[in-house]
């Protein structure tokens, strides 16, 4: 099952996504980190997230490009953070998928979803500042927008975190009623 968590910068997305993941109970927890630590600022950011995950028993796997090659233990609970970095890596890194970025990321998500019991994906809202960017940045927004829409379509839950407050727009979870039948509930 896929849970998609989105929101603006500094909105508490990561903390919420970790809560969702730990809420699944005792399962093997895998954290897939996508931010390439290229300077001091990104190293600090990585450090901050590492501290947040400390004591929650996550095993960290680094993946900057080629998500579909990542192997996780069958039935693990996986936190993938975040789509905006992975998309930028695929577009701009030497070994990235370039114009096949959207396909590469979606194939990766599909491969992970097939292995994991639960997959929580953190993405980012980068679409509403009204600034006219150059071609390359616009293409980045377009690619990430496509990835977000496609991931949301496949997800059982889609939640935007606004300053720590989760706003859930889609919630389709399988629930067993008293007769033991599985019903698909949408709210």
């Amino acid at each position: 099952m896929i849970t998609l968590v989105t929101g603006g910068s500094g909105s508490g997305k990561s903390a919420y996504a970790e809560d969702v993941l730990t809420g699944f109970g005792s399962c093997e927890r895998i954290y897939i980190a996508t931010m390439y630590p290229f300077d001091e600022e990104s190293k600090k950011r990585v450090e901050r997230h590492r501290r947040m995950r400390a004591e929650k028993n996550f095993t960290t796997i680094e993946c900057y490009t080629g998500l579909k090659h990542v192997q996780v233990p069958k039935g693990a609970c996986v936190l993938l953070e975040c789509m905006s970095n992975l998309t930028a890596n695929e577009m701009f890194q030497e070994d990235g998928a370039k114009e096949r970025t959207v396909e590469a990321v979606l194939e990766g998500i599909e491969a992970l979803d097939a292995q994991a019991a639960e997959l929580v994906i953190v993405t980012n809202e980068i679409f509403s500042d009204g600034i006219e960017y150059e071609e390359e940045t616009r293409r980045y927004q377009k690619y990430l927008g496509e990835i977000n829409r496609e991931t949301a379509r496949r997800a059982c839950q889609v939640t935007e975190v606004v300053y720590g407050i989760p706003l859930t727009y889609k919630n389709r979870t399988e629930k067993t009623d008293r007769t033991g039948e599985i019903s698909d509930e949408t709210e």
Binding site: G8, S9, G10, S11, G12, E41, E125, I126, F127, S128, D129, G130, I131, Y133, T137, Y140, Q141, V162, Y163, G164, I165, L167
Partner: protein, 128 residues
Amino acid sequence: MQLIIGGAFQGKKEYVKTMQGFEEKEMTDGADASYEDIFSCGCLYHFHEWIRARLLEGRDLDDLEKELSVRNPDIVLVSNELGYGVVPVDAFDRKYREAVGRICTRMAAAAKRVVRVTCGIGTVIKDA
């Protein structure tokens, strides 16, 4: 404490006036307010600008919500919701954008009510 958020020009101040009965003269503009001003006003708007000015002063805001809860617990804070765009190229812009996010997240946790205003319409997203 109450926190009113939303994009620029969405009618956040109007919302506060209509829904909370504030008058313009009772509202303090965070863009020209000092650090101390936040503890003596009923409503501070442009809270994001107030945060920006404090960052430029190099002031530590780690205990702001605690201090507000003691000194001005009924304040209404109005802030632009930043951080819905591409990561800025300039380092201070990045720091500012993230600081507003982190601080508003803490304020939202401390607030009894959080309202998000879009197109002049307020949606209560927290009502504790």
